[in-house]
Amino acid sequence: MFHYGGRHHHAKADASVALHVQDLVVSYPDREERALDGVSLDVSAGSCLALIGPNGSGKSTLCKSVAGLLRPRSGVIRIFGLPVGGCHHRTAYLPQRTEIEWPFPVDVRRFVLAGRYVHRGWLRRVTDADRAFVSGALSDLGLTSIADRPIGDLSGGQQQRVMLARALVQQAELLLLDEPLNAVDAETRDVILRVLSRLRREGRSVVIVTHDPDWGEDLFDAVVCLQAGRQVDVNACGHGHAGHHGGHRHH
């Protein structure tokens, strides 16, 4: 009765397909054209999918729909066989950093602790076990030394790591990462890549939005390319992407 969203966590209905999307159509109320137009894809459990395509092609929209932040106009989304919202704790969405109000007075440790809230729910306090999870994730991501700093003091790379730490303590089985390597420092890049390969070894499923599919070729099991809300051939897309952005984004 304390669970967020008023629903109990369901048992896994189908463990083999982490994410199943079929004929997904999403449109924003104030725009004519569809943000997503008939997208279908599957992410099998334990695999990693890269989502590429130019700005405005619908990559973030797809993530937000799966995360339950946007209501699709039509189509099917199943996460481990359940509809969106049937298992809040199983999905973790890392939005682009700009979506967070960084000046808010909260420190890194408490920010990461919020990843445990979904396991507690209304009116229930976090436990010592939750705090232990947080300490573990902070040290995994090289954040222990800044654990007591306000989140407003962090660099871009540190912000990205703090958000990833929160997703880790949530113990989500499907992670949706929206441009995790966009404009981060080399240290953060290495830490994130290390964590991603560990997640894969642990059998978690990951969807990564990226401008640049080259950096993780050995990490990705599949690549899906979006253009103007539709799936297009990956090779054609990679070509267009290079022309669009004129090269690599990371340092």
Binding site: A92, Y93, P95, I100, F104, V106, V118, L123
Partner: protein, 252 residues
């Protein structure tokens, strides 16, 4: 003092969620309700609350739904509704042909607070403290990361409505002491001062409440022997604390 507790605690959210304009609007829109209640001899508290409910409904109707697509943002809607309500209040006052009766509404009157008022002020404080304590982690999370809160199933719109409701209660209790015009200072100034001195939510709330209640106590204490307007004394003390804190940060 009770009013200061409610206002200072909520003020922290008001400052960090950038709701200062809403808080100010709520204080001003209470005026027509206050005037009618005063003229009819009804409870001022109820009058102000009813007035705020009308405003909230008006803002929701204007800023939600089809009009939003035409570019009417929430702050614009607030601007339209709150000035209209304020004007209505002034019109009602002028009907009574004497503004003098109403100065205590505009500028507050601590002396006019009776037993029933005290009970109501206490009840408001308890409701505010209870809600903030019980929903602390959800309110905090949805303030700095509404997207994540929404994703794990927290209804951030409902939390916002709750916060607005609490704000309405706190504002109405503030009006009793410092009046319609100065109430938003009770919300904003102690929290803004605390923001200079602390960088975590709980200490911020403690400091803001200490500054709010301290200014309230000293302000009232000073105003009686010197025959000064009590509300103005309280607000000026809050502002003085802010300046001291700012100078301390600046020249430390």
């Amino acid at each position: 003092m009770l009013a200061a507790v409610s206002c200072s605690l909520l003020g922290v959210y008001v400052v960090f969620r950038r709701m200062a304009f809403v808080g100010d609007a709520m204080a001003h829109t209470a005026l027509p309700g206050l005037v009618i209640a005063h003229a009819q001899g009804w409870s001022l508290f109820a009058g102000a609350l009813a007035s705020n409910a009308v405003t909230a409904g008006g803002i929701a109707a204007l800023s939600g739904g089809p009009l939003r697509r035409r570019g009417l943002r929430e702050d614009t809607a607030i601007g339209v509704v709150f000035t209209a309500m304020l004007a209505l209040g002034i019109l009602l006052m002028s009907l009574r042909r004497s503004f003098l009766d109403f100065t205590h509404l505009l500028f507050g009157s601590i002396l006019g607070v009776g037993t029933i008022d005290l009970v109501l002020l206490g009840a408001v404080s308890i409701i505010v403290i209870l809600c903030l304590a019980l929903l602390h982690k959800e309110l905090e999370l949805s303030s700095y990361d509404p997207v994540y809160a929404e994703q794990i199933g927290i209804r951030t719109r409902l939390l916002r409505l709750l916060l607005l409701g609490l704000l309405a209660l706190a504002v109405v209790s503030g009006i009793r002491v410092v009046g319609v015009i100065l109430t938003s200072a009770l919300l904003v100034t102690p929290a803004a001062t605390a923001a200079l001195l602390a960088r975590r939510l709980l200490p911020l709330m403690v400091i803001a409440t200490a500054i709010g209640t301290g200014s309230m106590f000293l302000g009232l204490l000073l105003s009686f022997p010197l025959a000064l307007a009590p509300g103005a004394c309280v607000v000026l003390l809050c502002a003085a604390t802010f300046i001291v804190a700012w100078a301390w940060r600046r020249f430390r």
